[in-house]
Symmetry: C2
Subunit: 263 residues, 2 copies
Amino acid sequence: MDHDLLAIGQFARLCRLSVKQLRHYDELGLLRPAQVDPNTGYRYYRADQARAAVSIALLRSLDVPLAAIGQVLAGAAAAEVLAAVRDRQEADLLRRRRTLAVLDRVLTQGMPRVEVTLVREPARRVAVVGDATPSEDIPTTTGRCVVRLLEALASADQASDAPLIGLFPLDVTQQVIVAVAAEVDGEVPGTTPEVLAGGVFACATHVGSYEQLSLTAHGLLAWCGERGHLPIDRLREVYVSDPRETPPEQLVTRLMIRLEDTE
Amino acid sequence: MDHDLLAIGQFARLCRLSVKQLRHYDELGLLRPAQVDPNTGYRYYRADQARAAVSIALLRSLDVPLAAIGQVLAGAAAAEVLAAVRDRQEADLLRRRRTLAVLDRVLTQGMPRVEVTLVREPARRVAVVGDATPSEDIPTTTGRCVVRLLEALASADQASDAPLIGLFPLDVTQQVIVAVAAEVDGEVPGTTPEVLAGGVFACATHVGSYEQLSLTAHGLLAWCGERGHLPIDRLREVYVSDPRETPPEQLVTRLMIRLEDTE
DNA sequence: TTGCTCCTCACGTCACGTGAGGTGGC
DNA sequence: TTGCTCCTCACGTCACGTGAGGTGGC
């Protein structure tokens, strides 16, 4: 056997990859052995394949998906691929930091029990800016919708003190359509006109950072379940405070969900 | 049908879970429908099951595994279960922050190419403290071994200026045994005596934080591959600088790997 | 000859999502 | 009657790990 060729086990140690990983990369065509014995199926690698293998090991240790690694090895613009991966991971890091904070509160204070009131609300004519988003990016996308809506309102001289209203579907799916609404007279260019239905709503007030809103939302829904009320439409978040002027722990948000007529 | 009972779709909206999730939780016995129609298989939920369902939804959104949620719902000490989950996630967060930093360096500077020299080293008599660890916890475990070794050396009046040596197997497996060694005369209670083999080593010098060590290590292994040298034993990290006195970006570490005799 | 290394299935992991193909309920 | 909702398989996801059962190489 050629002295430059290594059996899979030796090559694995050289690259700090498992034998199973190397076989897997062979199957995927990501890193083919230089030679395969046609009788025994033994895989043999050239030592200079270590550069590629080590790159895979390094990128995998950084949680770069194999598909992206494949692109890089195939000569695609590595910087772009890796930058995209980096951005994904950074967003993920942010999300995890948030969930950790929420988990901490659950730990210290238990599952949320919130005070809920029933109110009758009129229908409202609103201007809406919405967007589709994977559910893990809802906060970011909502933020972008807020910006777009505020710009549209300012351009149309319709800026007002009435709080913005976030609208979130109850059905959870991979893709979700989030929207932000503002009560207006007439139409606002760059937004969609809509009428938010009136009726009876279950309402809870959330005091604190937006990151913890999900706690109150879950508490509100649990309350509905226990009282036998069936929520319909979308969950509304009425942003009573201005987040640019209020410290996060004092932010007031009203959570509202319309209930099915029960009479 | 009893008015308090909800079909799976309605119940799903109430709890912000997908129908698929509810069916999955039923199969696992995590949340059983209050009633199942024996003819049609239709699942019906009592509205007051929403509290449990909402708890699941909330904890799942925090990436708590179903097994842990099951324990909490079954009445296990919720605080302990959640605290364990929290610790896991915090460690994970730290790891991700580190890998992100390494990925950033790869992005700006490309795959590492390191300068490597071949040196002949004598065998060394050392005191060793080792521990088994899952591979994702290697840095933490190594740190603990360092502390234990330094304490043992101090108790035995064997503290010296010779740098500590980290020892890491080349074979990657789920569980890895890491160790930290110090050159000593005689035995040191609380440590294992060992003789580190001498021979020819490929060496590279890493300047910078320990978090970036893997970059230089991978560069060193790639070099070995390209030159046709076969690394054996464990990878050694010689901690030349004292991390308590040196800023991270100036830390000097020598990476060494013994090579098979090729005469 | 004895171990060690290598091979190929086949299945498990985790928490569902995605159809396919069919039926119940208002 | 038409849609909508619900059902049960069966398979896919992602990157391998874990045996089972068998063979090659020194």
